[in-house]
């Protein structure tokens, strides 16, 4: 038989056991709570370490690891579109993804490229690249290297001839790709002009630039001479109307409608003066100023031309060129009217530039006219074309930031790199549960409440 003393000793042991079990459960729960608020160093070391790679296959492999809860990549250069998309998808799926520039290349090269098709019968495009000053850029297409340049003032612009094709711009290891939007062919110009040297040489310049010119010259009452097959301005036929003088006034309503429907208009002083085209012009026509003698063959040849500056600019007009003459009068301005663009020019008798200018005057005059039409002519995008090789390829660095956020400044390899806390071990809950169960069982056996 057990003595009373033995019974008391047994009860005392049970009480100690129950207290120990309660403390154990409390400690286990405390540990679980602590682990919940603290990154798991061992887990980070095992699965979530900072990775030095931009290899698409390696990134895909890392992301595919089911045990991974976070990923930090040290980037040597901007990953390609596929890798960016993979990382972005993983991030959207719940994986914590962060990135920073590799210490060996502390600043990834920002780079963005845009390619705009030109309104030109011979095709062509303007490639504009934005990159930090001093960056050495290289431009190439599918056939090979085209040009290179060092960036100044934040960017570089390349005019390119030829048809639509994919272009690649490289800044260090960063590669941006873009392709111009396909446009319907632009060919025809409707010219309004009185017969004269300006009309003759305007046609020459435009035809030399590849445009087909339609015009109707009034030679005598009821007698006209046509160039091409002139008809009323219509966006289905013409990309741009060039109005040199008052012969445009009787067609002012049709020209205004043409512009509002998306056509381009180049207005010279003789056409812009008066009230007929006042609703679409960029400004009023100022007092004439004779050309500066001897300037036609110099560096600013247009200063040798008769000028009628653009005055009282419309509130939405944009100044594109000012003369070097006193007061810097405006000699070129543009504005949008409806869906179209109006370019107003203050120079007159540009043919004198072609005939009396320097050795390159013919090409300069032709290129000036090309530029006027580039700035004003209507282009129609061909629907259903894919603008980019892959989304984000035109600005890979910006795309990386958009997809993954700004770069992290935390040092690679530290524990803090694991962005998601590790879940507490389930064993801690098992221990706590068993300890509490044992305490409850012990208390029931000894009859305690």
């Amino acid at each position: 038989m057990r003595s009373l003393t033995d019974a008391r000793d047994g009860a005392s042991l049970r009480v100690h056991f129950e207290r120990a079990a309660r403390v154990l459960a409390f400690v286990a729960l405390l540990a679980a709570w602590w682990l919940t608020g603290r990154p798991s160093a061992s887990n980070a070391a095992a699965n979530n370490e900072a990775v030095n790679t931009t290899d698409p296959a390696r990134i895909a492999e890392l992301v595919a690891d089911p045990s991974r809860t976070s990923l930090h990549v040290n980037l040597r250069d901007v990953p390609n579109a596929t890798s960016r998309a993979v990382l972005h998808a993983a991030r959207e799926a719940g994986l914590s993804v962060a990135w920073r520039a590799n210490e060996a290349s502390p600043s990834l090269a920002p780079l963005a490229v845009s390619v705009s098709p030109l309104a030109d019968p011979r095709g062509g495009m303007t490639v504009r690249v934005s990159a930090p000053d001093g960056s050495a850029l290289s431009l190439a297409d599918s056939l090979g290297w085209l040009d290179s340049a060092v960036v100044a003032n934040g960017g570089v612009a390349w005019p390119l001839d030829g048809s639509t094709r994919e272009l690649t711009v490289t800044n260090g290891a960063t590669v941006a790709r873009a392709k111009p939007l396909a446009i319907s062919p632009v060919k025809r110009v409707r010219l309004f002009a009185a017969p004269g040297w300006e009309a003759r040489f305007t046609m020459r310049a435009l035809e030399d630039a590849g445009w087909s010119v339609d015009a109707l010259f009034s030679i005598a009452p009821r007698v006209g001479v046509t160039a091409g097959e002139p008809s009323a301005p219509d966006t289905s036929r013409y990309a741009v109307v060039v109005a040199l003088d008052s012969t445009a006034w009787p067609s002012a309503a049709a020209i205004s409608t043409f512009v509002r429907n998306g056509g381009g208009l180049v207005l010279f002083p003789g056409a812009a003066s008066g009230g007929a085209l006042a609703g679409v012009r960029a400004g009023a026509v100022g007092a004439p100023s004779a050309g500066i003698p001897g300037s036609l063959a110099l560096a600013a040849p247009r200063e040798g031309l008769l000028m009628r500056p653009i005055a009282a600019l419309h509130r939405d007009a944009v100044v594109l060129e000012r003369s070097a003459r006193p007061g810097n009068p405006v000699v070129m301005a543009a504005r949008r009217v409806g869906s179209g663009r109006v370019l107003q020019v203050g120079w007159e008798n540009s043919w004198e530039w072609r005939m009396l200018g320097g050795d390159e005057a013919v090409a300069q005059h032709r290129d000036w006219w090309r530029e006027l039409l580039h700035r004003s002519a209507r282009v129609s995008l061909v629907s259903g074309t894919e603008p980019w090789p892959l989304p984000g390829d035109a600005a890979p660095y910006a795309d990386l930031v958009v997809r993954l956020g700004a770069p992290s400044n935390v040092l690679a390899g530290s524990e803090a790199f694991t962005m998601t806390p590790a879940p507490p071990s389930p064993w801690l809950f098992v221990v706590a549960a068993l300890a509490l169960l044992a305490e409850w069982w012990s208390r029931r056996l000894r009859g305690a409440p």
Binding site: A194, P195, A199, R200, F201, I219, A220, G270, A284, M355
Partner: protein
């Protein structure tokens, strides 16, 4: 305050002066042609023509130049350079053989000079836009009474000669002696059944519109 528009500058008929020959052998021609342009068309035209030295860059101010003579033509170096620039920039040079003689001194030397400085002259098709620029000349260049007057080669030249860039005339050359045909006294025009200067109007209109 807005300025009223200026009108298109009037057309000025220009005759080329050159050192080697009698450039002024048809003194009444400019006035007769100016008169016809003013009568038949509404083109603004200066009432007086000008004579411009071919050795001067001033020649480039007149994109249509008329050149005639009887004597051998030898352009000076300066004249040659200006002429090359003139044509390259889009000017139209009209040369008329006042001798109407394919074996004459003017024809031989002038065509050789054009070949040396610019390009060989070749026949201009009689369907060219020049022949329908204002009046219609279905058979090509109109004949002149001077082609068969017993002087010169006594031939009716069926075609004019030209140097062209694509379809644009750079140099137009005539053996038809328009210099004599258009050089009449103005008072005699009323006695003519058909105005011989009508082709000259075509030339001016073509130059201003093509």
């Amino acid at each position: 305050m807005e300025c009223p528009m200026t009108h298109t500058s009037p057309f000025v008929f220009a005759t080329a002066q050159y050192e080697s020959g009698d450039w002024d052998s048809a003194p009444s021609l400019p006035g007769n042609l100016i008169d016809s342009v003013a009568r038949y068309t509404s083109l603004p035209v200066a009432p007086q023509g000008v004579a411009v030295p071919l050795a001067s860059d001033d020649a480039l101010r007149y994109p249509l130049l008329f050149l005639t003579g009887h004597l051998p033509v030898r352009f000076t170096q300066k004249e040659g350079r200006v002429l090359q620039r003139y044509v390259a920039r889009g000017g139209l040079l009209f040369i008329d053989d006042h001798n109407h003689d394919v074996d004459g001194a003017f024809h031989k030397t002038a065509t050789a000079e054009i070949r040396r400085l610019i390009a060989p002259l070749v026949p201009l098709p009689n369907t060219h836009a020049l022949y329908s620029a204002f009046f219609t000349f279905a058979d090509g260049p109109p004949t002149t009474s001077h082609e068969l007057n017993g002087w010169g080669d006594n031939l009716v030249h069926e075609q004019l000669l030209a140097v062209r860039a694509e379809d644009r005339i750079q140099v137009l050359y005539s053996n038809k002696d328009y210099s004599s045909e258009w050089n009449f006294h103005p008072d005699n025009k009323r006695f003519m059944g058909v105005d011989p200067t009508r082709f000259g109007v075509n030339l001016v209109v073509y130059a201003l519109t093509h």
